[in-house]
Subunit: 215 residues, 2 copies
DNA sequence: GATTCCATCACGAGAATTCGGGATTGAACC
DNA sequence: GGTTCAATCCCGAATTCTCGTGATGGAATC
Protein backbone atom coordinates (compact mmCIF):
# COMPACT_ATOMS: atom_id res chain seq x y z
CA UNK A 1 0.00 0.00 0.00
CA UNK A 2 1.15 3.49 -0.72
CA UNK A 3 -0.46 5.84 1.75
CA UNK A 4 -2.04 4.83 5.04
CA UNK A 5 -5.80 5.38 5.35
CA UNK A 6 -6.36 8.53 7.36
CA UNK A 7 -9.11 7.91 9.90
CA UNK A 8 -10.82 10.45 12.12
CA UNK A 9 -13.35 9.52 14.75
CA UNK A 10 -15.98 11.10 16.86
CA UNK A 11 -17.10 9.69 20.19
CA UNK A 12 -18.21 11.24 23.45
CA UNK A 13 -16.59 8.59 25.59
CA UNK A 14 -12.92 9.22 26.27
CA UNK A 15 -12.06 5.58 26.95
CA UNK A 16 -13.60 4.51 23.68
CA UNK A 17 -11.76 7.29 21.85
CA UNK A 18 -8.45 6.17 23.23
CA UNK A 19 -9.25 2.58 22.50
CA UNK A 20 -10.23 3.44 18.96
CA UNK A 21 -7.05 5.35 18.31
CA UNK A 22 -4.99 2.49 19.65
CA UNK A 23 -6.75 -0.10 17.53
CA UNK A 24 -6.53 1.91 14.34
CA UNK A 25 -2.92 2.86 14.84
CA UNK A 26 -2.13 -0.81 15.37
CA UNK A 27 -3.17 -1.46 11.77
CA UNK A 28 -0.27 -1.32 9.36
CA UNK A 29 -2.33 0.44 6.68
CA UNK A 30 -4.13 2.99 8.82
CA UNK A 31 -3.43 6.01 10.91
CA UNK A 32 -5.83 7.66 13.29
CA UNK A 33 -5.26 11.33 12.62
CA UNK A 34 -7.65 12.56 15.28
CA UNK A 35 -10.44 11.71 17.68
CA UNK A 36 -12.94 14.28 18.82
CA UNK A 37 -15.51 14.44 21.58
CA UNK A 38 -17.94 16.65 19.70
CA UNK A 39 -19.01 17.42 16.20
CA UNK A 40 -18.24 21.11 16.14
CA UNK A 41 -14.65 20.46 17.05
CA UNK A 42 -14.38 17.73 14.47
CA UNK A 43 -15.81 19.95 11.78
CA UNK A 44 -13.18 22.54 12.50
CA UNK A 45 -10.51 19.92 12.29
CA UNK A 46 -11.50 18.20 9.07
CA UNK A 47 -9.63 20.63 6.86
CA UNK A 48 -6.42 20.11 8.78
CA UNK A 49 -6.80 16.38 9.32
CA UNK A 50 -7.76 15.53 5.73
CA UNK A 51 -9.34 12.23 6.74
CA UNK A 52 -10.15 9.50 4.25
CA UNK A 53 -12.78 7.97 6.50
CA UNK A 54 -14.85 9.47 9.30
CA UNK A 55 -16.16 7.13 11.97
CA UNK A 56 -19.00 8.28 14.16
CA UNK A 57 -21.79 7.01 16.35
CA UNK A 58 -25.37 7.24 15.18
CA UNK A 59 -26.25 8.23 18.74
CA UNK A 60 -24.58 11.47 19.66
CA UNK A 61 -24.99 13.87 22.54
CA UNK A 62 -26.64 17.14 21.63
CA UNK A 63 -26.94 16.51 17.96
CA UNK A 64 -28.27 13.32 16.48
CA UNK A 65 -26.04 11.32 14.20
CA UNK A 66 -28.11 11.92 11.09
CA UNK A 67 -27.78 15.66 11.49
CA UNK A 68 -24.08 15.16 11.94
CA UNK A 69 -23.81 13.24 8.68
CA UNK A 70 -25.83 15.87 6.91
CA UNK A 71 -23.67 18.65 8.30
CA UNK A 72 -20.47 16.95 7.23
CA UNK A 73 -21.84 16.03 3.81
CA UNK A 74 -23.02 19.59 3.28
CA UNK A 75 -19.50 20.88 3.68
CA UNK A 76 -17.58 17.87 2.41
CA UNK A 77 -19.72 16.05 -0.14
CA UNK A 78 -16.95 13.56 -0.84
CA UNK A 79 -16.58 12.58 2.81
CA UNK A 80 -16.81 8.87 3.45
CA UNK A 81 -18.61 8.26 6.70
CA UNK A 82 -18.83 5.02 8.63
CA UNK A 83 -21.59 4.93 11.21
CA UNK A 84 -21.45 2.91 14.39
CA UNK A 85 -24.72 1.81 15.85
CA UNK A 86 -25.70 -0.12 18.94
CA UNK A 87 -28.91 -1.51 17.45
CA UNK A 88 -28.83 -2.56 13.84
CA UNK A 89 -32.58 -2.92 13.63
CA UNK A 90 -33.13 0.76 14.13
CA UNK A 91 -35.06 2.59 11.44
CA UNK A 92 -32.61 5.44 11.88
CA UNK A 93 -30.18 3.64 9.62
CA UNK A 94 -32.41 4.49 6.68
CA UNK A 95 -32.27 8.15 7.57
CA UNK A 96 -28.52 7.90 7.89
CA UNK A 97 -28.30 6.26 4.47
CA UNK A 98 -30.30 9.06 2.95
CA UNK A 99 -28.12 11.58 4.74
CA UNK A 100 -25.17 10.09 2.93
CA UNK A 101 -23.31 7.76 5.24
CA UNK A 102 -21.78 4.80 3.46
CA UNK A 103 -21.24 2.25 6.17
CA UNK A 104 -23.13 0.86 9.14
CA UNK A 105 -21.45 -1.41 11.60
CA UNK A 106 -22.23 -2.48 15.12
CA UNK A 107 -20.44 -0.80 17.93
CA UNK A 108 -19.87 -4.24 19.33
CA UNK A 109 -18.17 -5.41 16.15
CA UNK A 110 -14.86 -7.19 16.35
CA UNK A 111 -11.75 -5.22 15.50
CA UNK A 112 -11.25 -7.06 12.24
CA UNK A 113 -14.79 -6.28 11.18
CA UNK A 114 -14.34 -2.63 11.92
CA UNK A 115 -11.03 -2.33 10.12
CA UNK A 116 -12.45 -4.26 7.15
CA UNK A 117 -15.36 -1.83 7.07
CA UNK A 118 -12.96 1.12 7.11
CA UNK A 119 -11.00 -0.40 4.23
CA UNK A 120 -14.16 -1.16 2.27
CA UNK A 121 -15.48 2.34 2.72
CA UNK A 122 -12.13 3.84 1.85
CA UNK A 123 -11.89 1.88 -1.36
CA UNK A 124 -15.21 3.19 -2.60
CA UNK A 125 -17.56 0.52 -1.36
CA UNK A 126 -20.04 0.31 1.45
CA UNK A 127 -20.06 -1.78 4.60
CA UNK A 128 -23.10 -3.09 6.38
CA UNK A 129 -24.00 -5.72 8.90
CA UNK A 130 -25.95 -8.57 7.30
CA UNK A 131 -29.06 -7.56 9.24
CA UNK A 132 -28.92 -4.00 7.95
CA UNK A 133 -28.17 -5.22 4.45
CA UNK A 134 -31.27 -7.38 4.63
CA UNK A 135 -33.43 -4.47 5.71
CA UNK A 136 -32.00 -2.29 2.99
CA UNK A 137 -32.69 -4.90 0.33
CA UNK A 138 -36.23 -5.41 1.58
CA UNK A 139 -36.92 -1.71 1.45
CA UNK A 140 -35.22 -1.51 -1.90
CA UNK A 141 -37.51 -4.14 -3.35
CA UNK A 142 -40.57 -2.36 -2.05
CA UNK A 143 -39.46 0.85 -3.74
CA UNK A 144 -38.64 -0.71 -7.05
CA UNK A 145 -41.81 -1.90 -8.74
CA UNK A 146 -40.22 -1.53 -12.15
CA UNK A 147 -38.55 -4.87 -12.63
CA UNK A 148 -41.25 -6.99 -11.09
CA UNK A 149 -43.97 -5.27 -13.07
CA UNK A 150 -41.72 -5.22 -16.08
CA UNK A 151 -44.52 -4.50 -18.43
CA UNK A 152 -43.11 -3.87 -21.82
CA UNK A 153 -45.51 -1.47 -23.34
CA UNK A 154 -43.82 -2.02 -26.65
CA UNK A 155 -42.63 1.50 -27.13
CA UNK A 156 -40.36 1.97 -30.12
CA UNK A 157 -37.00 3.67 -29.68
CA UNK A 158 -38.32 6.83 -31.21
CA UNK A 159 -41.30 6.87 -28.93
CA UNK A 160 -39.05 6.39 -25.94
CA UNK A 161 -36.93 9.30 -27.12
CA UNK A 162 -39.94 11.53 -27.42
CA UNK A 163 -41.23 10.42 -24.04
CA UNK A 164 -37.86 11.04 -22.43
CA UNK A 165 -37.81 14.62 -23.60
CA UNK A 166 -41.41 15.10 -22.57
CA UNK A 167 -40.53 13.91 -19.07
CA UNK A 168 -37.77 16.48 -19.01
CA UNK A 169 -40.40 19.15 -19.51
CA UNK A 170 -39.96 19.88 -23.20
CA UNK A 171 -42.90 21.02 -25.29
CA UNK A 172 -43.82 19.30 -28.55
CA UNK A 173 -42.15 22.10 -30.44
CA UNK A 174 -38.92 21.75 -28.51
CA UNK A 175 -38.94 18.00 -28.91
CA UNK A 176 -39.38 18.42 -32.65
CA UNK A 177 -36.39 20.72 -32.78
CA UNK A 178 -34.18 18.55 -30.63
CA UNK A 179 -34.96 15.43 -32.60
CA UNK A 180 -34.89 17.19 -35.94
CA UNK A 181 -38.41 16.14 -36.85
CA UNK A 182 -41.56 18.12 -37.41
CA UNK A 183 -44.09 19.09 -34.81
CA UNK A 184 -46.63 16.88 -36.50
CA UNK A 185 -44.43 13.86 -36.11
CA UNK A 186 -44.05 14.49 -32.43
CA UNK A 187 -47.79 14.74 -32.20
CA UNK A 188 -48.09 11.50 -34.07
CA UNK A 189 -45.62 9.73 -31.77
CA UNK A 190 -47.42 11.04 -28.75
CA UNK A 191 -50.70 9.60 -29.96
CA UNK A 192 -49.07 6.22 -30.27
CA UNK A 193 -47.57 6.60 -26.83
CA UNK A 194 -50.96 7.44 -25.36
CA UNK A 195 -52.40 4.42 -27.02
CA UNK A 196 -49.69 2.05 -25.85
CA UNK A 197 -49.63 3.39 -22.32
CA UNK A 198 -53.40 3.57 -22.14
CA UNK A 199 -53.35 7.17 -21.02
CA UNK A 200 -55.19 10.21 -22.24
CA UNK A 201 -53.07 13.16 -21.32
CA UNK A 202 -49.62 14.57 -21.26
CA UNK A 203 -49.58 14.45 -17.47
CA UNK A 204 -50.66 10.85 -17.24
CA UNK A 205 -48.10 9.77 -19.80
CA UNK A 206 -45.31 11.47 -17.88
CA UNK A 207 -46.56 10.05 -14.62
CA UNK A 208 -46.60 6.53 -15.97
CA UNK A 209 -43.26 6.93 -17.69
CA UNK A 210 -41.55 8.05 -14.51
CA UNK A 211 -43.19 5.64 -12.11
CA UNK A 212 -42.71 2.65 -14.39
CA UNK A 213 -39.23 3.79 -15.30
CA UNK A 214 -39.85 3.61 -18.99
CA UNK A 215 -37.35 6.27 -19.87
CA UNK B 1 -24.34 -25.50 16.63
CA UNK B 2 -27.36 -27.68 16.45
CA UNK B 3 -28.07 -28.49 12.83
CA UNK B 4 -25.65 -28.00 9.94
CA UNK B 5 -26.65 -25.49 7.29
CA UNK B 6 -28.05 -27.38 4.33
CA UNK B 7 -26.61 -25.92 1.14
CA UNK B 8 -27.63 -26.69 -2.42
CA UNK B 9 -25.85 -25.29 -5.44
CA UNK B 10 -26.37 -24.84 -9.10
CA UNK B 11 -23.53 -24.54 -11.58
CA UNK B 12 -23.06 -25.72 -15.13
CA UNK B 13 -19.38 -26.50 -14.65
CA UNK B 14 -18.73 -29.94 -13.18
CA UNK B 15 -15.33 -29.07 -11.75
CA UNK B 16 -16.75 -26.06 -9.97
CA UNK B 17 -19.61 -28.15 -8.65
CA UNK B 18 -17.25 -30.73 -7.21
CA UNK B 19 -15.04 -28.04 -5.80
CA UNK B 20 -18.00 -26.33 -4.23
CA UNK B 21 -19.23 -29.50 -2.62
CA UNK B 22 -15.79 -30.18 -1.22
CA UNK B 23 -15.38 -26.72 0.22
CA UNK B 24 -18.78 -26.63 1.82
CA UNK B 25 -18.50 -30.11 3.27
CA UNK B 26 -15.18 -29.12 4.76
CA UNK B 27 -17.00 -26.59 6.92
CA UNK B 28 -17.94 -27.98 10.30
CA UNK B 29 -21.30 -26.22 10.31
CA UNK B 30 -22.40 -26.93 6.74
CA UNK B 31 -23.37 -29.76 4.52
CA UNK B 32 -23.74 -29.65 0.77
CA UNK B 33 -26.88 -31.64 0.18
CA UNK B 34 -26.77 -31.43 -3.59
CA UNK B 35 -25.24 -29.77 -6.62
CA UNK B 36 -27.07 -29.53 -9.91
CA UNK B 37 -26.09 -28.71 -13.44
CA UNK B 38 -29.41 -27.16 -14.39
CA UNK B 39 -32.29 -25.36 -12.84
CA UNK B 40 -35.06 -27.76 -13.76
CA UNK B 41 -33.28 -30.59 -12.01
CA UNK B 42 -32.63 -28.46 -8.99
CA UNK B 43 -36.25 -27.39 -8.80
CA UNK B 44 -37.31 -31.02 -8.74
CA UNK B 45 -34.83 -31.73 -5.98
CA UNK B 46 -35.61 -28.85 -3.66
CA UNK B 47 -38.42 -30.66 -1.87
CA UNK B 48 -36.23 -33.64 -1.14
CA UNK B 49 -33.08 -31.70 -0.34
CA UNK B 50 -34.74 -29.16 1.97
CA UNK B 51 -31.90 -26.68 1.57
CA UNK B 52 -31.40 -23.73 3.89
CA UNK B 53 -29.41 -21.79 1.32
CA UNK B 54 -29.35 -21.99 -2.47
CA UNK B 55 -26.20 -20.83 -4.24
CA UNK B 56 -26.38 -20.04 -7.92
CA UNK B 57 -24.67 -18.06 -10.63
CA UNK B 58 -26.29 -14.95 -12.01
CA UNK B 59 -25.12 -16.11 -15.43
CA UNK B 60 -26.77 -19.36 -16.35
CA UNK B 61 -26.99 -21.35 -19.54
CA UNK B 62 -30.40 -21.35 -21.14
CA UNK B 63 -32.16 -19.38 -18.50
CA UNK B 64 -30.83 -16.18 -17.00
CA UNK B 65 -30.18 -16.05 -13.31
CA UNK B 66 -32.89 -13.54 -12.59
CA UNK B 67 -35.52 -15.81 -14.09
CA UNK B 68 -34.10 -18.61 -12.01
CA UNK B 69 -34.47 -16.62 -8.81
CA UNK B 70 -37.99 -15.69 -9.75
CA UNK B 71 -38.89 -19.27 -10.52
CA UNK B 72 -37.55 -20.53 -7.21
CA UNK B 73 -39.12 -17.69 -5.26
CA UNK B 74 -42.47 -18.34 -6.93
CA UNK B 75 -42.53 -21.88 -5.60
CA UNK B 76 -40.54 -21.40 -2.42
CA UNK B 77 -41.05 -17.84 -1.18
CA UNK B 78 -38.96 -18.49 1.90
CA UNK B 79 -35.94 -19.71 -0.08
CA UNK B 80 -32.74 -17.93 0.75
CA UNK B 81 -30.72 -17.46 -2.39
CA UNK B 82 -27.10 -16.41 -2.65
CA UNK B 83 -26.06 -15.20 -6.08
CA UNK B 84 -22.59 -15.53 -7.49
CA UNK B 85 -21.54 -13.00 -10.04
CA UNK B 86 -18.42 -12.46 -12.07
CA UNK B 87 -18.89 -8.68 -12.37
CA UNK B 88 -20.18 -6.83 -9.37
CA UNK B 89 -20.79 -3.65 -11.31
CA UNK B 90 -23.46 -5.24 -13.41
CA UNK B 91 -26.87 -3.60 -13.36
CA UNK B 92 -28.32 -7.08 -13.30
CA UNK B 93 -27.75 -7.23 -9.56
CA UNK B 94 -30.63 -4.80 -9.13
CA UNK B 95 -32.89 -7.08 -11.09
CA UNK B 96 -31.74 -9.99 -8.98
CA UNK B 97 -32.45 -8.06 -5.81
CA UNK B 98 -35.95 -7.32 -6.99
CA UNK B 99 -36.40 -10.94 -7.94
CA UNK B 100 -35.72 -11.82 -4.34
CA UNK B 101 -32.14 -12.98 -3.96
CA UNK B 102 -30.60 -12.01 -0.67
CA UNK B 103 -26.89 -12.20 -1.28
CA UNK B 104 -24.44 -11.17 -3.99
CA UNK B 105 -20.88 -12.30 -3.84
CA UNK B 106 -18.13 -12.51 -6.40
CA UNK B 107 -17.38 -15.83 -7.98
CA UNK B 108 -13.75 -15.10 -7.29
CA UNK B 109 -14.40 -14.63 -3.58
CA UNK B 110 -12.22 -16.41 -1.08
CA UNK B 111 -13.62 -19.48 0.62
CA UNK B 112 -13.99 -17.68 3.94
CA UNK B 113 -15.95 -14.92 2.27
CA UNK B 114 -18.28 -17.38 0.63
CA UNK B 115 -18.89 -19.39 3.75
CA UNK B 116 -19.44 -16.21 5.76
CA UNK B 117 -21.98 -15.11 3.16
CA UNK B 118 -23.76 -18.46 3.43
CA UNK B 119 -23.87 -18.13 7.20
CA UNK B 120 -25.09 -14.52 7.00
CA UNK B 121 -27.82 -15.41 4.56
CA UNK B 122 -28.83 -18.43 6.59
CA UNK B 123 -29.14 -16.41 9.77
CA UNK B 124 -31.57 -14.01 8.15
CA UNK B 125 -29.23 -11.33 6.92
CA UNK B 126 -27.92 -10.38 3.52
CA UNK B 127 -24.43 -10.51 2.08
CA UNK B 128 -22.98 -8.19 -0.51
CA UNK B 129 -19.65 -7.12 -1.81
CA UNK B 130 -18.78 -3.57 -0.73
CA UNK B 131 -19.08 -2.40 -4.34
CA UNK B 132 -22.58 -3.79 -4.71
CA UNK B 133 -23.54 -2.43 -1.31
CA UNK B 134 -22.41 0.99 -2.46
CA UNK B 135 -24.48 0.83 -5.61
CA UNK B 136 -27.50 -0.33 -3.68
CA UNK B 137 -27.18 2.51 -1.21
CA UNK B 138 -26.80 5.04 -4.00
CA UNK B 139 -29.88 3.79 -5.72
CA UNK B 140 -31.66 3.61 -2.41
CA UNK B 141 -30.96 7.24 -1.71
CA UNK B 142 -32.26 8.24 -5.12
CA UNK B 143 -35.48 6.33 -4.55
CA UNK B 144 -36.23 7.40 -1.03
CA UNK B 145 -38.69 10.20 -0.49
CA UNK B 146 -36.59 13.28 -0.15
CA UNK B 147 -37.43 14.19 3.39
CA UNK B 148 -35.51 17.40 3.13
CA UNK B 149 -36.70 18.29 -0.34
CA UNK B 150 -40.33 18.08 0.63
CA UNK B 151 -39.93 21.12 2.81
CA UNK B 152 -37.75 22.86 0.29
CA UNK B 153 -40.57 23.17 -2.15
CA UNK B 154 -43.05 24.16 0.56
CA UNK B 155 -46.17 23.03 -1.24
CA UNK B 156 -49.39 23.69 0.67
CA UNK B 157 -51.89 20.89 1.26
CA UNK B 158 -54.16 22.22 -1.42
CA UNK B 159 -51.35 22.43 -3.91
CA UNK B 160 -50.38 18.86 -3.13
CA UNK B 161 -53.97 17.79 -3.68
CA UNK B 162 -54.08 19.49 -7.05
CA UNK B 163 -50.73 18.05 -8.00
CA UNK B 164 -51.80 14.57 -6.97
CA UNK B 165 -54.80 14.66 -9.27
CA UNK B 166 -52.69 16.08 -12.04
CA UNK B 167 -50.28 13.18 -11.68
CA UNK B 168 -53.22 10.85 -12.01
CA UNK B 169 -53.89 12.37 -15.40
CA UNK B 170 -56.78 14.67 -14.60
CA UNK B 171 -57.30 17.87 -16.56
CA UNK B 172 -57.72 21.21 -14.83
CA UNK B 173 -61.44 20.98 -15.38
CA UNK B 174 -61.69 17.55 -13.80
CA UNK B 175 -59.54 18.62 -10.88
CA UNK B 176 -61.83 21.59 -10.33
CA UNK B 177 -64.85 19.31 -10.27
CA UNK B 178 -63.27 16.74 -7.98
CA UNK B 179 -62.13 19.34 -5.50
CA UNK B 180 -65.27 21.41 -5.79
CA UNK B 181 -63.43 24.56 -6.80
CA UNK B 182 -63.42 26.58 -9.99
CA UNK B 183 -61.21 26.04 -12.97
CA UNK B 184 -59.56 29.37 -12.31
CA UNK B 185 -58.55 28.31 -8.85
CA UNK B 186 -56.92 25.18 -10.18
CA UNK B 187 -55.08 27.34 -12.65
CA UNK B 188 -54.01 29.59 -9.82
CA UNK B 189 -52.74 26.68 -7.75
CA UNK B 190 -50.87 25.30 -10.70
CA UNK B 191 -49.07 28.58 -11.20
CA UNK B 192 -47.95 28.49 -7.60
CA UNK B 193 -46.83 24.92 -8.05
CA UNK B 194 -44.83 25.81 -11.13
CA UNK B 195 -43.21 28.61 -9.24
CA UNK B 196 -42.35 26.50 -6.21
CA UNK B 197 -41.10 23.57 -8.24
CA UNK B 198 -39.25 25.82 -10.68
CA UNK B 199 -40.87 24.20 -13.69
CA UNK B 200 -42.63 25.63 -16.69
CA UNK B 201 -44.98 22.96 -17.90
CA UNK B 202 -47.52 20.43 -16.91
CA UNK B 203 -45.22 17.60 -17.91
CA UNK B 204 -42.26 18.88 -15.96
CA UNK B 205 -44.36 19.40 -12.84
CA UNK B 206 -45.65 15.84 -13.02
CA UNK B 207 -42.18 14.52 -13.69
CA UNK B 208 -40.75 16.31 -10.69
CA UNK B 209 -43.67 15.39 -8.48
CA UNK B 210 -43.31 11.70 -9.24
CA UNK B 211 -39.54 11.50 -9.13
CA UNK B 212 -39.26 13.51 -5.93
CA UNK B 213 -42.21 11.68 -4.40
CA UNK B 214 -44.04 14.90 -3.61
CA UNK B 215 -47.48 13.38 -3.87
C1' DG C 1 -53.72 46.76 13.23
C1' DA C 2 -50.61 45.70 9.50
C1' DT C 3 -48.49 42.15 7.03
C1' DT C 4 -48.15 37.91 5.08
C1' DC C 5 -49.86 33.62 3.41
C1' DC C 6 -53.44 30.69 1.57
C1' DA C 7 -57.37 29.67 -1.00
C1' DT C 8 -60.60 31.33 -3.79
C1' DC C 9 -62.36 33.56 -8.22
C1' DA C 10 -62.14 36.30 -12.80
C1' DC C 11 -60.97 37.92 -17.89
C1' DG C 12 -58.47 37.59 -22.00
C1' DA C 13 -55.04 36.37 -25.31
C1' DG C 14 -51.84 33.50 -27.08
C1' DA C 15 -49.73 29.17 -27.02
C1' DA C 16 -50.00 24.29 -26.77
C1' DT C 17 -52.26 19.99 -26.87
C1' DT C 18 -55.61 16.55 -28.47
C1' DC C 19 -57.87 14.16 -31.87
C1' DG C 20 -60.50 13.55 -36.13
C1' DG C 21 -59.10 12.75 -40.48
C1' DG C 22 -55.54 11.50 -43.76
C1' DA C 23 -50.56 10.41 -46.62
C1' DT C 24 -45.76 8.47 -47.94
C1' DT C 25 -41.50 5.92 -47.40
C1' DG C 26 -38.76 2.09 -46.27
C1' DA C 27 -37.71 -2.02 -43.78
C1' DA C 28 -39.03 -6.53 -42.18
C1' DC C 29 -41.61 -10.79 -42.72
C1' DC C 30 -43.96 -14.60 -44.78
C1' DG D 1 -45.45 -9.67 -53.98
C1' DG D 2 -48.36 -8.46 -50.36
C1' DT D 3 -48.73 -7.21 -45.56
C1' DT D 4 -47.46 -5.08 -41.55
C1' DC D 5 -45.39 -1.55 -39.04
C1' DA D 6 -42.36 2.28 -37.58
C1' DA D 7 -41.38 6.79 -38.77
C1' DT D 8 -42.28 10.63 -41.09
C1' DC D 9 -45.45 14.48 -42.49
C1' DC D 10 -49.91 17.43 -43.08
C1' DC D 11 -54.70 19.99 -42.09
C1' DG D 12 -58.25 21.70 -39.17
C1' DA D 13 -60.95 22.27 -35.23
C1' DA D 14 -61.94 21.73 -30.50
C1' DT D 15 -60.03 21.72 -26.22
C1' DT D 16 -56.73 22.82 -22.82
C1' DC D 17 -53.01 25.13 -20.78
C1' DT D 18 -50.17 29.27 -19.68
C1' DC D 19 -49.60 33.58 -18.04
C1' DG D 20 -50.42 38.66 -17.27
C1' DT D 21 -53.05 41.14 -14.17
C1' DG D 22 -55.89 41.53 -11.25
C1' DA D 23 -59.53 40.84 -6.74
C1' DT D 24 -61.59 39.06 -2.11
C1' DG D 25 -61.89 36.92 2.44
C1' DG D 26 -59.84 34.47 6.18
C1' DA D 27 -56.25 32.89 9.17
C1' DA D 28 -52.00 33.42 11.25
C1' DT D 29 -48.11 36.25 12.74
C1' DC D 30 -46.00 40.04 14.79
Amino acid sequence: MDQPIRVIAFDDNKDLRDMFRMLVDAQPDMVCVAVHPDLAQMMRDIDAAQPDVIVMDIQMPGMNGIEGVRAIKARYPAARILMQTVFDDDDKVFDAICAGACGYILKTAAVEEMTKAIRDVHSGGSAMTPAIAFKVLSRFRANEPATTAEQEYGLSDREKGVLTLLVKGRSYKMIAEELGISYHTVDSHMRKIYEKLHVHSNAEAVSKAVSKRLV
